[in-house]
Symmetry: C2
């Protein structure tokens, strides 16, 4: 199964409304840190995947512009898009490039600058991310509307309440308050979430992730090369990937995302892990909480608990540090922010820090197993990627 | 260097103005043929890279829509963009996925439907494909304008004439006349080319590739799996990739594309070939003739001849069948057409057919060496990919 691959460099920009920088400068904030953290230079990079959904500005070749600004001109390059899971897709392709022997050192760079969007507006553009001609044009479905379908189905089947959803938001704002890179650094309480206005019932403003500018970067290396770069590599144990139907009307079930379930099974299988009762394997998880319901479905799609029991984790505070499994100690998409092309790399950066005990005070998980998992979804389960990281070298 | 990878299935749609189909139907024409040619089904595919530049329509997740229509929902999926080299990038990533062991069977699907473009127009959109804010907005450079800079520099330095450029167009229209998949199936003569109107001096209408709708697909498999699928695999010997500066003002030279030179060197090195005087290795080449000058530069960037001698190949008819090296027997981008996201796969499909002696009558190369090469450029050398194929299994 190819060569073993380690994370040897990471970088992460401040997330938020970043009108102070252009897209290349925003990407550079992460690239620079990734180089500094690995003592590598542009000349060392042999493969680059830039994840960026784009469409917000007139720049049609963002990867080239980002690459030139970072001194990476000349290197093998492409841009990858898997909607809001683009960042994980970039990591996946960089991982394959190193694993295959095509490159010894590869880089995944995620960047998105959403706040400069002209027409269509950001929300309209994101709303198209299903089957545009059918569901958006004909039915007027928006992106919050898509997830609201899942929320109502889930609440109706399992009895979860709007308060249960708000627990996810409260937790993620709590941890974001200790993350200087997060877009929001203010804690919220239950009345703030419950009294916020409806975006698409039952989802309210505080159930929803924001529009974010940001970047994140990850440098991967083969085993032999990683040894020379760092004494503390974090290994990629496996990556699972899957897709879902464009039309939501073709989905069988609205209480979980089938693509995420498939991706999780693939990742577990490749890592040699069981697919149920999986919380015990991990010290921390970063999951795709574009809306609070999405985090609750993620608990189940990843097998942390049985179907229909995810909301109880939120209700009982089991996903705080000290609980069954700490989830989104970065603040998650909900409060750290969600620059869609960079979110996948951001998750990997966060989990690498967690595993190396380098997270900010108050939001560092206890590292016992030395394993962590990310769950990154594109669209409403149109794409899904699950990545398992570990301090121990993967088995042969 | 990873597992050996073979091409086991190919498909190619009719290129042209395809208002008769939507993007998913257009992609399916190729996907269906690829399945039929390999006796594979959607369930066999373990990795999919869809190359599509997009921006012409409101569909923001084209890969998902294409995948659903083709019965591929559930599979690991992403979209890749490397401007007009997107197709080769999809092949490169699929190759890495198989080589690394991540997948046994992978698919690269290229599709572009350019004729449905709303505002901005196709030509404006493509014109942005450099450094948009600097060169397009400030200087008004268009895509033909970019290549015209190269044409004037080349002609001035080496003494090539407009007639020499037209020789490329005449050859490519000649071969396209025998390719039922080509957009244009009419031969042209020197007066037709020379009397056509200037688009950006010295480039005329007949020096330029058209706006095209089309698709192409390639299925790759590992050595063990390929053996079971086919008795006549075509092997990928190597893929070289490189990028160029976004700003053309930062280029050192305008008589060749540095990214293409870098990609060629990488491909030759990985395949164990010399980098000069390389025409002798290959029975056929497909090169990126988005404008006639681009094909002439390709002869040199690929090392078929020395710098400044490419135009002589065109002048002397050395790139017809029977000459030094037959180039663009498909008709090339110039006459076969250039659906930008599908062109890379189209080149691989064509060369696979050539190597297997399955090209149409009158445009089949003589297969002696059993090797072929493709050269695919994105933007004006912003991206470049060079792929070497062979009937012989790559060495260990």
């Amino acid at each position: 199964m190819g060569r073993k691959v380690a994370i040897v460099g990471i970088g992460h920009s401040k997330f938020g409304v970043r009108n102070d920088v252009n897209i290349a400068e925003l990407a550079w904030e992460s690239i620079k840190q990734a180089f500094e953290s690995s003592n590598l230079e542009p000349k060392d990079i042999q493969y680059i995947s830039v994840s960026n959904v784009g469409g917000w500005s007139g720049e049609p070749l963002p990867a080239v512009v980002v690459s030139e600004y970072a001194g990476l001109t000349g290197k093998p390059l492409h841009r990858v898009e898997a909607a809001c899971a683009s960042g994980s897709s970039a990591v996946f392709n960089a991982y394959n490039a190193v694993s295959s022997g095509q490159a010894d050192i590869a880089m995944a760079i995620g960047v998105e600058k959403m706040n400069e969007s002209p027409t269509p507006t950001v929300v309209e553009f994101i709303g198209r991310a299903g089957n545009y001609f059918w569901e958006f044009e004909n039915f007027g479905l928006t992106f919050p509307g898509y997830y609201a379908l899942y929320a109502t189905a889930y609440m109706s089947k399992y009895g979860a309440s709007e308060e249960d959803l708000c627990q996810v938001a409260i937790k993620n704002h709590y941890y974001a308050s200790m993350n200087p890179k997060a877009q929001f650094q203010r804690k919220i309480d239950m009345p703030t979430c419950m009294n916020s206005r409806y975006i698409a019932w039952p989802l309210k403003l505080f159930d929803s992730s924001p529009i974010t500018d940001g970047s994140a970067a990850v440098i991967l290396a083969s085993e032999d090369v990683a040894k020379k770069i760092t004494d503390s590599p974090v290994w990629i144990h496996s990556i699972g990937a899957a897709s879902g139907s464009a039309n939501l009307s073709k989905r069988n079930d609205f209480t979980g995302l089938e693509a995420a379930q498939l991706a999780a099974k693939m990742a577990y299988k490749k890592a040699g892990l069981e697919t149920e009762n999986t919380a015990k394997y991990f010290d921390a998880a970063e999951v795709h909480d574009c809306f609070t319901i999405a985090e609750i479905m993620a608990y189940e799609d990843l097998g942390f608990v049985k179907r229909g029991e995810g909301y109880k984790l939120a209700k009982e505070g089991q996903t705080y540090i000290g609980g069954l499994i700490p989830v989104n100690l970065s603040g998650g998409l909900k409060a750290k922010g969600h620059p869609i092309g960079a979110t996948g790399e951001s998750m990997v950066v966060e989990l690498t820090k967690q595993l190396l005990n380098k997270a900010d005070k108050g939001r560092q998980a206890t590292i016992k197993n030395g394993r962590a998992i990310s769950h990154n979804v594109g669209g409403t389960g149109h794409y899904a990627y699950v990545t398992i990281l570990g301090l121990d070298k993967p088995k042969d």
